[in-house]
């Protein structure tokens, strides 16, 4: 499939421009399209979130501005634009002002390697997956900078939790991303999407998803992505009942809006990475005949994953910090390491490919069953312990007559 930039360059060359100029113009057009696409998408995502959350909470949600309240977020953005930009006197100026810029920079940059359809990808880097991981770390850095530089105790506490949560969940997430890379033997996101095709009688139905081969690895990635996107079961960074607003407590106006934008886009792109690595990317029926259909498949799947995360956001309670840390280091990391190890062994079995894949699948299902059994036993023990702690101990037989005072 021809890359979009080649098509555009050829078009400009056809108009009579020299080739380097034509290529530069093509790249600038593509980059501008991506840079505009990301904030526009964020406006839509915020609207979707509000609609889903309000339906879960038995409300209607935004329905006044525009059809179905679609322009509510535009109105909100305009309002934030006209707000006063307050920065506290005690803040560390450089880090305080740099943090919102860096957070948006990170998410817009990650659009560069998103494979929308065959041939439609900003830049099909050979190190695509590593590029995404590196940009994820930029988000962590900006949250830490915001928390530390605000010179506010709540923000600082949130900054500590950034270290605890985002760093801990980065490890299982990145190790889970290793699974599809090991299977496809490439870090190019276009190659990873191409790898997940499934031909039945010469027709590509696009259902060769790696999630079918390694469901446990996909689940680990999804849980870690929830934590990385600061979504609800793990939204300790902005636990509003404890930390008011978390690390962006001291931000107002457009700087606050930048953090907001980055957070929504980040959780969408984490879902998008899940789609590209595990759920087939742009693969689907008829995509070989009509490549542009890939955009529909990719965005549809990514929106579906995003809707699921918002569903979780609307229905799950928040976890405690010690439970969260224990879950990352004692459940997810050993499990994903063991699964990667098993996958490495399975891929070198002297057998046909389908036997290797079946071995990986059996290993994944076994790991899932084992973890469910262990967690179940642990949780039922916890339940008995908490019950005992709250039971009122009986006072009968513990009462003693008061000792005679020495005065009598």
């Amino acid at each position: 499939m021809q890359h979009w930039s080649t098509t555009l360059t050829n078009f400009f060359v056809g108009l009579g421009l020299p080739e380097p100029v034509a290529m530069a113009i093509a790249f600038i057009i593509g980059a501008t399209a991506l840079a505009i696409f990301a904030p526009t998408l964020a406006l839509g995502l915020i609207w979707i979130t509000r609609k889903i959350i309000s339906r879960i909470q038995d409300r209607i949600g935004p329905n006044r501005v525009g059809p179905y309240g679609l322009f509510q977020t535009v109105a909100d953005a305009a309002k934030l634009l006209s707000k006063e930009d307050i920065s506290p006197t005690d803040a560390d100026r450089v880090a305080y002002n740099l943090a919102p810029i860096l957070s948006v920079f990170g998410v817009i940059m990650s659009t560069a390697v998103i494979a929308f359809a065959p041939g439609i990808i900003g830049a099909d880097l050979h190190v695509g997956v590593l590029f995404l991981v590196a940009l994820g770390s930029l988000g962590i850095l900006s949250a830490l900078m915001a928390g530390w530089s605000s010179n506010n105790k709540y923000a600082l506490l949130a900054g500590f939790r950034v270290i605890a949560q985002l760093l801990s969940y980065e490890i299982p997430m990145v190790l889970a991303m290793l699974g599809p890379v090991l299977l496809a033997g490439s870090m190019r996101l276009q190659a990873l999407s191409e790898f997940q095709s499934l031909e039945i009688a010469g027709f590509n139905i696009g259902l060769g998803w790696t999630a079918f081969i390694m469901p446990a690895v996909f689940l680990i990635y999804f849980i870690s992505a929830l934590a990385e996107g600061e979504q609800t079961p793990f939204d300790l960074l902005e636990a509003e009942s404890e930390l008011i607003a978390g690390f962006h407590i001291e931000y107002s106006g457009m700087k606050f809006a930048m953090f907001f934008l980055a957070q929504f886009l980040n959780s969408f792109f984490l879902g998008g990475i899940a789609v590209m690595l595990f759920l087939g990317g742009w693969q689907g029926p008829f995509v070989d005949q009509l490549p542009i259909l890939g955009v529909v498949y990719f965005l549809g799947k990514a929106m579906l994953v995003y809707a699921v995360t918002q569903w979780i956001k609307g229905t799950f309670p928040r976890v405690r910090i010690d439970q969260m840390m224990a879950f990352a280091w004692k459940v997810l990391v050993p499990m994903v390491l063991a699964l990667i190890l098993w996958q490495m062994i399975a891929l070198k079995l002297p057998a046909p490919t389908w036997v290797q894949y079946a071995a990986i699948l059996i290993g994944n299902l076994g790991a899932l069953a084992l973890i469910v059994v262990i967690l179940n036993r642990h949780l039922s023990k916890e339940e008995i312990r908490t019950k005992r702690a709250f039971e009122p101990t009986s006072l009968i037989g513990t009462m003693q007559p008061a000792p005679p005072s020495p005065g009598n």
Binding site: G30, V129, S168, E170, M254, I321, D322, W329, L341
Partner: protein, 118 residues
Amino acid sequence: MLQNYTFVLILSGLALLVPVAAIVLGHFLGPRRPNPIKNQTYESGVETVGDTWVQFRAQYYLIGLIFLIFDVEVIFLFPIALAYQRLSLFGVVATITFVVILLLGLLLEWRKGALEWE
């Protein structure tokens, strides 16, 4: 291949431009009436007591160190994963030993109580 990075470079310029432009625009469009009380640190309306940038618990440092070890491991594992299909038996055994050592390291940290969060 270098063209791809040219594209990334152009996009990085635009990705910096978007937030900077938005913030600068907001700075000029919004009102500006600073006063000392408004610019104080917001801690639920209570006056701030003491210094914010204090010494913090060593636990966070420990987590940071463990993260560093595993992150370096991941950086080593990605190139191995790319070449895995062409790897000889020696390479496979070496890789598996590498992962097993780290798994044992994690178990040691677990036994030593570095993963307990109080």
